[in-house]
């Protein structure tokens, strides 16, 4: 009995010392900056139960109290109309945090206060963190915080999230508020639509009447307006847009290339060291081709992902990302999507892995799923070596024309599939694009690089494990039965390749070497070329003389279109699983891409034959 009591006492004591805090705010208010400055890098990342929306939380100590801070999705409202809004609402109602911090951009204070009133209607302890005060001062916006505090009857702390200014003050206020019993302010009763929801019309009247006298926003958006007159101008918008996209694409893939090479070399040397060790052959092979190969392919992606997220964070924090959506929206709307799909699509030309991760800026789940689905049809850089090799051998005079047609065809398929999918699964948001264009701001290096590190570490942890497992399985299939030459026609995978080669006969590339090459192309598409070399036992140059014995030019054309469209590589599959959270979705995508690739190649080969080509 005594022990039980002691236990419950300790529990109670612990409970009193833990303060649970929900951090909420509109997008572009500096919520992530505030979270970063409060927590450093000690964030724990998971998913909300049963959802694919990321959940970030952390524990910090302050004044002998332990704060459990949960970052709620950035939304404009907590009315439960989207997955994000539902999550925020559920958390606030069911988890009942001691305090909710709402971060507010004072430059558009009145709009933000609508959400404040929504939160208060749920009868919670709310602390307002007013952000971007310096910017407001520059824009001649005047705010009488004391008066506003009095009107709203809730505590307000002025902060600068970027620099971490006043974060202690904010935490002190949270401690204070956590000790109070939440009470619905008396004025709110007249603004309610039902027990827990406010009437927006009444709420805005209240804000206009009670808050407007203490807040003036006469400024006409000086700086942002000037920049927009270039960025969104009929004549200059397109050149600026193309330049930004070009720089982002170049920077992402060029800056990462030497780092990727460095990592590749490092792993190669590691492989050589192991090769020279006195170990059994199969163990060596496992370590070199399986384990180090897998680890190498995960780490080789990290510079790419880091730099990509660095630039997307720059675009997002500067305010330009929203403009790219506006500029491309009309085009994408015709295919059932919105302008938010543009950037991921462009990045897909480099590599589908970071491109699929970049779909995270798309807030609507269904639209995001379509964007992920069609991304693998965008021809990535790793497919280029296949095109170059084959067109060089079979179509030396028309190689650039054929390569360009492949790229264009990939995009056409992507748009067609998205058009069909949007008709089938009806992303309810597709006609509802309403986005905020935040004021232009100079991004801080601290936030941008933290964001990039954070995303990279998630990639390594989540997608990395799937990639490693998949590479090891492929190694097993390529090395079994025992004693077989690695990745030869006698290995299990080779046998599978031989077996399935039958389905490629109507496509014009029925020789077993091609189906095995396509199977190994799963590891990474550029492997198709080296596999063919291994299978024929010749170098890259040797392929040129030997290959015409096994395939006709028309068969090559069908093979190229098949390589463009069939299953994305293992790393892409891993990222699709990670980003959608669904194996079902991933498998449907794998099957669909094979079907589309087969039908397209079949048509090309047979129409070609019919027209008299060989």
């Amino acid at each position: 009995m005594i022990r039980l009591n002691l236990k419950s006492l300790v529990k109670q004591e612990k409970k009193q010392n833990i303060i649970t805090v929900g951090l909420i705010g509109n997008p572009n208010t500096g919520k992530t900056s505030l979270l970063n400055s409060l927590t450093g890098l000690s964030l724990h990342v998971g998913n909300w139960p049963g959802k694919t929306v990321e959940k970030k939380e952390c524990n910090i100590n302050f004044q002998n109290k332990c704060f459990n801070i949960v970052d709620l999705p950035g939304t404009y409202s907590i009315a439960p109309y989207s997955e994000e809004e539902e999550i925020s609402r559920d958390y606030i109602i069911n988890q009942n945090p001691n305090v909710i911090i709402q971060i507010i951009d004072v430059n558009s204070l009145k709009r933000h206060l609508l959400m404040t009133l929504e939160l208060l209607a749920l009868n919670k302890n709310v602390v307002l963190a007013f952000n971007f005060n310096k910017e407001a001062q520059k824009r001649n916006i005047s705010i009488d915080i004391e008066k506003i505090k009095k009107q709203l009857q809730i505590p307000i702390v002025k902060i600068e999230a970027n620099t971490g200014k006043n974060k202690k003050k904010l935490l002190e206020q949270v401690v204070n508020s956590s000790q109070k019993i939440p009470k619905i302010p008396s004025y709110l009763k007249g603004l309610l639509k039902n027990k827990q929801e406010i009437n927006h019309h009444k709420a805005i009247n209240f804000i206009n009447k009670k808050i407007s006298p203490f807040y003036s926003d006469k400024e006409q958006n000086g700086q942002t307006n000037k920049i927009d007159s270039f960025v969104l101008n009929k004549y200059t918008a397109l050149p600026i847009f193309l330049l930004v996209m070009f720089l982002m694409f170049k920077a992402t893939f060029d800056l990462s290339a030497p780092l990727i090479n460095l990592i590749d070399n490092l792993f190669e040397s590691l492989g050589t060291i192991i090769y020279n060790l006195n170990l059994p052959e199969y163990l060596k092979s496992f370590l070199i081709e399986g384990f180090i190969g897998g680890l190498g392919s995960i780490l080789a992606f990290t510079p790419l992902i880091f730099i990509l997220f660095f630039f997307t964070a720059l675009l997002e924090d500067s305010g330009y990302l929203g403009r790219t959506v506006v500029l491309t929206d009309r085009l994408f709307h015709k295919f059932g999507l919105s302008g938010q799909v543009f950037i991921p699509m462009i990045l897909g030309f480099g590599c589908n892995v970071p491109a699929i991760m970049a779909t995270r800026t798309i807030k609507n789940k269904k639209e995001r799923h379509i964007a992920i689905f069609i991304n693998s049809f965008v021809s990535c850089g790793a497919r280029l070596p296949i095109y170059v090799l084959f067109t060089g051998i079979f179509f030396p005079n028309n190689s650039s024309l054929i390569i360009m047609s492949l790229y264009v065809f990939g995009v056409i398929i992507a748009f067609t599939v998205s058009f069909i999918l949007s008709k089938l699964i009806k992303p309810e948001e597709k006609n509802r694009l309403i986005i905020e264009l935040p004021p232009y701001r100079i991004p801080t290096f601290k936030n941008v690089h933290k964001h990039a590190w954070f995303q990279t570490s998630i990639f390594i942890k989540k997608a990395g494990t799937i990639i490693l497992a998949a590479v090891i399985i492929v190694w097993l299939l390529s090395s079994l039965p025992l004693g077989v030459e690695y990745a030869s026609e006698f290995s299990l995978l080779g046998k599978i390749g031989k077996f399935i080669s039958i389905i490629f006969i109507p496509l014009g590339f029925g020789h077993w070497t091609f189906s095995i090459a396509l199977l190994f192309g799963l590891v990474a598409k550029e492997v198709v070329v080296s596999t063919l070399g291994t299978l024929y036992g010749v170098s890259r140059e040797g392929l040129m003389t030997i290959m015409p014995n096994y395939i006709t030019p028309l068969g090559v054309l069908a093979f190229l279109f098949f390589s463009l469209l069939y299953i994305p590589c293992l790393a892409t599959i891993a990222v699709i699983k990670k980003e959608t959270g669904s194996w079902k979705f991933t498998f449907i995508q794998i099957i669909t891409t094979i079907l589309i690739a087969w039908v397209v190649s079949f048509s090309i080969y047979n129409i070609g034959l019919f027209l008299g080509f060989k």
Partner: protein, 78 residues
Amino acid sequence: MKTSLFQLTLRKKAVIKNINTDKVTKERLHSFGLIKGVEIAFVRNTPLGCPKIYKCFNTLIAIRDNITKQVEVELKND
């Protein structure tokens, strides 16, 4: 004079009178501050003509034409 937000001319202001969209779109517009009685201005066209950019509560918001056609406004004379 009553008209739709879509027909508002560039750099003109109006007051929102009615939102005739479906419920979810209406809620979404509300959360951006587009509520009956609120002032809104058409501040910028975009190169492809849609969406257009409006200003409401000191925030720039891009909205597609199919939605602005369903928002009734009354022109403001100034």
